[in-house]
């Protein structure tokens, strides 16, 4: 079971690499944002994998109880960040059109 978790965690990490293509090459800024959003959500999952794999102490308990809090916090922060940047692009265009009118 542990080997399965390690293998799928590494595979997930390798799958995140091609998303960077969209972030670097993306024709528009919003394409880049989509890529960042995808990576953020997958980091939440990756934290769960790390927490299940890492074992510490005498009995070798997995650290999932600690890492699940990190994952929850990361999901919250990722959501807020995406909303704020989407809002920024929205406002930017509104301001420009108002300037053109005035």
């Amino acid at each position: 079971m542990e080997k399965f978790f390690i293998a799928s965690g590494v595979f997930l990490l390798l799958l995140i690499v091609p998303v960077f293509y969209r972030i670097i090459m993306g024709p528009t800024n919003i394409d880049r944002l989509v890529g960042i959003n995808v990576i953020g959500t997958k980091t939440t999952v990756l934290l769960l994998f790390i927490g299940t794999i890492i074992q510490r102490g005498e009995g070798g308990h997995s650290q999932i109880a600690m890492f699940v809090d990190f994952a929850l916090t990361y999901a919250l922060l990722n959501f807020i960040g995406t909303l704020v940047v989407a809002r920024y692009f929205h406002k930017d265009r509104d301001r420009n059109s108002k300037q053109q009118e005035g």
């Binding site: 799928s8 995808v38 959500t41 997958k42 939440t44 299940t52 999932i64 929850l72 959501f79 989407a86």
Partner: protein, 123 residues
């Protein structure tokens, strides 16, 4: 044992969906279609993988059932179910209002190539 195999199946399905999402992000011609791949694949693959972890933690916990962790994992799943479509919608609206045009027709060409072709046909 049954729960563990179910969790393996859930996590594998989630990773399969994530592969589809990455391929979609690469291959689709247009911002809106890429958004479609990213939004759907992200939500379902994350929820499936988290469900796999929930099943694994329940199956492990015969002696020391860690219900604290299970409840937090369920919170993550519900949270992703609510927030991922919301952020997809916000990004889509930002893109639409900043004037991005979708690719029209069944062509696989990008916008610029399509316009060039139409001009050539008009001539």
């Amino acid at each position: 044992m049954v729960l563990e195999s179910l969790s393996i199946i859930c996590i594998s399905l989630g990773i399969l969906l994530f592969i589809g999402e990455v391929v979609g992000l690469h291959k689709f011609p247009d911002f809106y279609t890429r958004m479609h791949a990213a939004g759907k694949g992200d939500t379902l693959s994350t929820i499936l993988i988290v469900a796999g972890f929930i099943l694994y933690n329940v199956s492990e916990g015969g002696e020391a059932a860690n219900w604290n962790v299970v409840i937090k994992l369920m919170l993550i799943a519900v949270f992703i179910l609510v927030t991922s479509p919301t952020s997809t919608h916000a990004l889509m609206k930002a893109g639409y209002d900043s004037g991005l045009k979708p690719v029209e027709g069944s062509s696989r060409l990008s916008n610029a190539e399509q316009k060039k072709q139409e001009e050539e046909e008009a001539e």
